[in-house]
Symmetry: C2
Subunit: 302 residues, 2 copies
Amino acid sequence: MKAPADVAPAGPRPLGVPAQQGLMVSAHPAAPRSGTVRAKAVRADAGGAEAGGAEAGGTDPMNSVLGKVRPILEAFTSDDAALSLAELVRRSGAAKATVHRLAQELVTWGLLEREGCDYRLGLRLFELGQRVHRQRILREAVQPYMEDLLLITRETIHFAIHDSLDVVYLDKIFPHRGLNAESRVAGRLPLYCTGTGKAILAYSPPSLFVDVVRGGLKPITRHTVISPGRLRAQLDRIREEGIVLESEEIRLGYASLAVPVFAGDTAPVGALSITAPTYRMDAAGYATALRTAALGIGRSLA
Amino acid sequence: MKAPADVAPAGPRPLGVPAQQGLMVSAHPAAPRSGTVRAKAVRADAGGAEAGGAEAGGTDPMNSVLGKVRPILEAFTSDDAALSLAELVRRSGAAKATVHRLAQELVTWGLLEREGCDYRLGLRLFELGQRVHRQRILREAVQPYMEDLLLITRETIHFAIHDSLDVVYLDKIFPHRGLNAESRVAGRLPLYCTGTGKAILAYSPPSLFVDVVRGGLKPITRHTVISPGRLRAQLDRIREEGIVLESEEIRLGYASLAVPVFAGDTAPVGALSITAPTYRMDAAGYATALRTAALGIGRSLA
DNA sequence: GGTCGCGGTCCGTTCACCGGAACAGGTTCA
DNA sequence: TGAACCTGTTCCGGTGAACGGACCGCGACC
């Protein structure tokens, strides 16, 4: 209903579908029904922010059922334990009666659960999410090696894969004294300022580096490398040494040692890292273990 | 591929919605449009399997968009790497054009991904699944304790919660020599024949025991306890000793030692277990570690 | 060249969806 | 006390999104 809500559906999208859309709707040279499109255009303008002119080719994502379900489910962040109906209405931008009806249907499916007047994401969604095949296979292959590293280092261990301009953490294990913040399973962090991200970036096609720079290098801490030149130099060194030591670029007081993981292909399938307080980080000592684990994973994936 | 595929759409459904539906549609005393309903009835009969007469009271789950999206997403099992459009049509029971359109929309959302002509579950679904709050909180609390147990025992460690008549594994870690079969994260196994399940069952209200028995005790191996009387006796002993040793009831050659995990409430929030080949299972030696871990988790949850 | 199954598209029909409006209950003001 | 807000929930009529049969082009297999 209000301005910020309308932006939400457009926000997370741009990464997903770059060029295929043009192919997909190639049969439709121009928007047919002007009446409908006009109405949407008005709403989009009212929203204030749109994809910048190019949206003329796109359909309004809100006038399909899935287009409404999406902002409802995505309204939940990792920190939201539960949301009221009113809050869902606010975040999704759909009409109250609509959200009410769809939420009910999602509850009978099990993707949402109700507790009193609040909605929360449901167990079934967790189950579905664990069925995603590639991630499951990777996790199962990587997990024992992560255990080894935890045993040796007693520090937090991450395994991350690459998606668009981020790393996505597929798994994370930590001992009692470990770090449980800044990162979580399925969480995202930028490629350019994380150990795992740099490891992947260093061994990816140069075009990815260009995209990352174009995406903007924002400083997270005062140590974040935001100069494209310095970042490029870092990546060159990483390729030479085959390992990264990222220090305090995302969180003051913490460092990460990371290596890429290969499975035959030229591009890495992911990256493995050890995160510890800087004063405890024994990069020289951990390097061999980390490299060995990465090789082991690669072998067991092939 | 073969005939049983036609049964699939009706197959996985019945579990979801037991009685609430009657409540939901209480305002609609009878099915209004006879024409449409007739058409569905014909198709259902042709399919050969239907919910057996009782379907008169429920709304046809297929004539809503979500009702069609659901069988499409649930068509994927953990073992399916990818499914063709035709296969999705077969399993979902919806028309080809419909599946095609919905799948396209799911792809732009990211819940599905395309590779050539095949669809697979998408990374976004994994991400959404990891946002489910209760499971995330539990996993984060439990994980370091599971590491401890792995370190001590070098055997497979499970943490499971209770849902309907099953246990659902929230997390599982295993060393290189560990067991990676029969169970997986977010997988389900019956309450009555697993260590974790028995541990939960023993400390749950008696009504759950009744439900489990009514649900039927099917033998998984020749050691599975399928006599309600013997099961009850087992549960009594578990309550006395506070720990379970399940031996070869789900997989020959393997045993599990399990304890319930409490967090203040009377009912357990889950159960923790160690699984090992029977010849290696040192129940007496592991019991203390397991009990200690469960207490630690309980404390850190409170 | 006939037949099958496949992915993909078109288009007229129609019914599921939409959302404003009104309702019931609760809390917070004056 | 009661007006003015919040919630969540239900109703209902108009309508456009969704549907699916029909069709196309392709490649595989007799």
